[in-house]
């Protein structure tokens, strides 16, 4: 029985060792007398098995007899490929090292702070004589409705970005707002005026932004409050750009001149969300007396603070 076990252990030795020494080792085993001595040899064979697989990998394979091989015609041929094979222990060490490195990498990623880098894509309309320069870091807004595009272009053409130009633009916006609010026939977007709203001068919003991360609470905003947000806001350097907040059809509209514009719907307090996106929002900042002096513009994980330039 022990001999069978001993032979079985020898069979699991590396081929080269087994072919060379297994029969001799078995011969030694056959010359040993006594069960205790045989058991010791079994233990010795087991230790040898572990040793051969873990520490003697250089003997597993027959080494190349030479780099020069004979070839036809009497001319020597040469191996062009390296016959080297890595040791098994080296492979195991490499695997362990790889596992450690990957674990460290995943841990670092898991515990790292997310820094989103916003790279805006800017597309300028043709304004050859314009010296208006929009900052490259200005965030991209949702797609522009063609009907309102001329307003932005007007700013570009009139070399806007000056307080005077902003005033002119807002005057036009307010006059169009007055006309449109007088009609109020079909509600656009999700904010609409009801008969009672018109009487009380308030706007009721429907749950357009239900998919926002925070629960949506229908907010009633008076038209006076709505117009208090209207103005030109400018962010600080290095991400300097101008944002126009206007009111159209009972809704706030944000526009970066020459770029894109989007409708805003109230979420809660002074916070407004973009109608097209789910997690982008603008929050207006008020002084103690209620005067709006700036806004916080959150988009694509980045936040910009804008100061009110004009009303």
């Amino acid at each position: 029985m022990l001999r069978l076990f001993y032979r079985w252990i020898l069979r699991f030795h590396p081929t080269r060792f087994r072919e060379r020494f297994a029969e001799e080792m078995l011969s030694v085993f056959d010359h040993i007398e006594g069960r205790a001595a045989a058991a010791k040899l079994v233990a010795d064979a087991f230790i040898s098995l572990v040793r051969q697989w873990t520490m003697r990998s250089e003997y597993w394979e027959e080494k190349a007899t030479g780099s020069v091989i004979a070839s036809a015609g009497g001319l020597p041929g040469f191996y062009t490929l390296e016959s080297f094979k890595p040791r098994k222990s080296a492979l195991i060490e490499g695997a362990v090292l790889t596992w450690i490195v990957y674990s460290a990498l995943f841990l670092a990623i898991r515990h790292s702070k997310i820094h989103s880098v916003y790279v805006p894509s800017i597309s300028f309309d043709s304004a050859p004589s314009s010296d208006v320069q929009f900052p490259k870091s200005a965030p991209k807004l949702p797609s522009t409705e063609p009907s309102v595009r001329p307003s932005a272009e007007a700013i570009m053409k009139s070399r806007a970005n000056s307080p005077e130009a902003d005033h002119q633009l807002l005057k036009r916006r307010r006059s169009s707002e007055a006309n449109s609010s007088a009609k109020v026939s079909e509600p656009q977007g999700e904010a609409r005026l009801t008969a009672s709203d018109r009487r009380h001068g308030t706007i009721t919003t429907t749950p357009l932004v239900q998919s926002l991360s925070q629960p949506f609470v229908p907010t009633r905003i008076s038209t006076a409050t709505l117009f208090s947000y209207v103005g030109v806001y400018s962010t600080d350097a290095p991400n300097k750009f101008t944002m126009l907040i206007t009111a159209e059809d009972g809704q706030l509209v944000v526009e970066i001149p020459g770029k894109q514009r989007s409708m805003l719907v109230p979420v809660y307090g002074t916070k407004f969300a973009f109608t097209e996106t789910q997690n982008d929002w603008i929050e207006f900042m008020k002084k103690e007396n209620g005067a709006v002096y700036g806004l916080r513009f959150h988009r694509n994980g980045s936040e910009f603070t804008g100061h009110r330039k004009t009303n």
Partner: protein
Amino acid sequence: MREDLNSFLPLSSATLHILLSLAGDDLHGYGIMQEVLRQSQGQYKLGPGTLYDNLQKLIERRFLQELGQRAEDIDPRRRYYRLTSRGRRVLTAELARLEGVVREGKLRLQPVRPRRA
């Protein structure tokens, strides 16, 4: 030009005993085990696993030469091994090193004589 064999020194106990056992005569594996046991006066018992692992290494280093089987042997599976001249040189170098160790040890272990005033 003589090859410098000092890089192989010191030899392990198993290697030293195997080389010593083959210094006198060619032996097979079991014979080496018996000779090692005799040389060490029963204090060092070499198992087949350790023996053949060392034989493999020593043949690779050309300290030993495998002679193959002998027809007259009672067990045809046995192969005989011989100490090469290279193996003899390294064994000589190891013994010289050990002599130095023994000499140094004896010197250190001499009883200290008290100085006369």
